[in-house]
Symmetry: C2
Subunit: 225 residues, 2 copies
């Protein structure tokens, strides 16, 4: 039996896409986006403790949608909070015992078992693991008096799952919320912990817009990493 856990965060209402349903509920290959993320973690380890954090208004709808989808995947549902920080904190409160805890965006449905496996292995060795890919764009940074180039070779695009030792993550989330807590890495490093980057995959995209959903449909059955 696994001693690890994952918190899949879908706390937002998804109003950004102008959709009547949150983006995690949109359909990708006949199943909701969120379902793909859930399945990937279950496939990686059927004994993994899975906590799904949903906006409270959407819990009944998800239960209705999901009833026919996964009789064989067991997971806990908990209500999201005001920000991602609060949603993850609510999820963490449901985990009593675990070695490592992963936090994953519900809107990243193309996460692969190999990425999950690799990230857990890194976290077990180093205390944490955050998937990252090299920057592929030319970059500039806005300055008080204009903008200037930013050397892309030093920049990494950050993904999830972000994985941490449970004790460290719980301690980190006892801190008072700050606006700069945009992901779990930023919360944990405030304790003085170093963040260990692990290899992400370009296909592990986050679905934020209609365009992303179309791209995800294209990539779903593609072998590209």
């Amino acid at each position: 039996m696994s001693g690890d856990a994952v918190i899949i965060v879908a706390g937002g209402e998804g109003k950004r896409m102008g959709h009547p349903v949150p983006k995690q509920f949109l359909i990708l290959d006949r199943r909701p986006v969120l379902w793909h993320a859930l399945t990937a973690f279950h496939r990686y380890d059927p004994d993994l403790t899975i906590i799904l954090v949903l906006h409270k208004d959407w819990i009944p709808k998800w239960k209705e949608i999901s009833a026919s989808l996964h009789p064989d995947i067991r997971y806990h549902i908990t209500a999201g909070g005001r920000t991602r920080f609060h949603s993850v904190k609510n999820g963490l409160a449901r985990i009593e015992k675990a070695d490592l805890v992963a936090v994953h965006d519900a809107s990243r449905p193309l996460i692969t078992t190999s990425l999950i496996d690799h990230a857990f292995k890194t976290a077990r060795r180093k205390g944490n693991a955050v998937p990252a890919i090299p920057a592929t764009d030319s970059l500039r940074i806005i300055t008080p008096d204009g903008n200037k180039p930013l050397d892309r070779s030093t920049v990494r695009y950050i993904q999830t799952p972000q994985i941490f030792r449970m004790d460290i993550l719980k301690k980190a989330f006892r801190q008072t919320y700050r606006p700069e807590f945009t992901d779990e890495a930023t919360v944990v490093e405030t304790l003085g912990e170093s963040i260990h980057l692990t290899e992400g995959e370009r296909r592990n995209i986050k679905i934020t817009t209609e365009m992303d959903l179309k791209i995800a449909k294209t990539l779903l059955y593609s072998d590209d990493q």
Copy 2:
């Protein structure tokens, strides 16, 4: 008659994709990637001076491929150089008279007429225009002793066409090459010029991998910006 010009840069051999032909020659909707870029600028202004910079080994092949494609688009072909800087410099040498000169990646086939139009208008008003979109990823920056978060609200992903006054661009390209000259903006600002960012489009992607080509196919007939 237009007093402007565009240099479409396809100087690379495209070996990165492991393809026998450069990525600009790959087929997107029955026509080479490069053809889409060429057509977009011709559609924007049929009188625009168009210079196509190709690796010298691929000029005969392009002439063969393109013979049946565009009897109505007139443009000049010139050979590329060792780096992008040298390729653009070769292209510039072919332009004797122009108000504004745009430089565009041949591997950005989804460029729209409206982006081109908007960028030329900005450049005419402000001296130059470089299309940029907000960073959509969480970002970290590699430091000598690890890595740290980078506030994505200050970061822009840079695209092409990058448009400049011809006199300024010619002067900038008389400088000795430096490795930090990764795009035209970095060359021009070395003269002390300020770079003016203009609104890019998320769909204006650069095709570097097989995955990008698949994504481009998906976006080609999509209305998403």
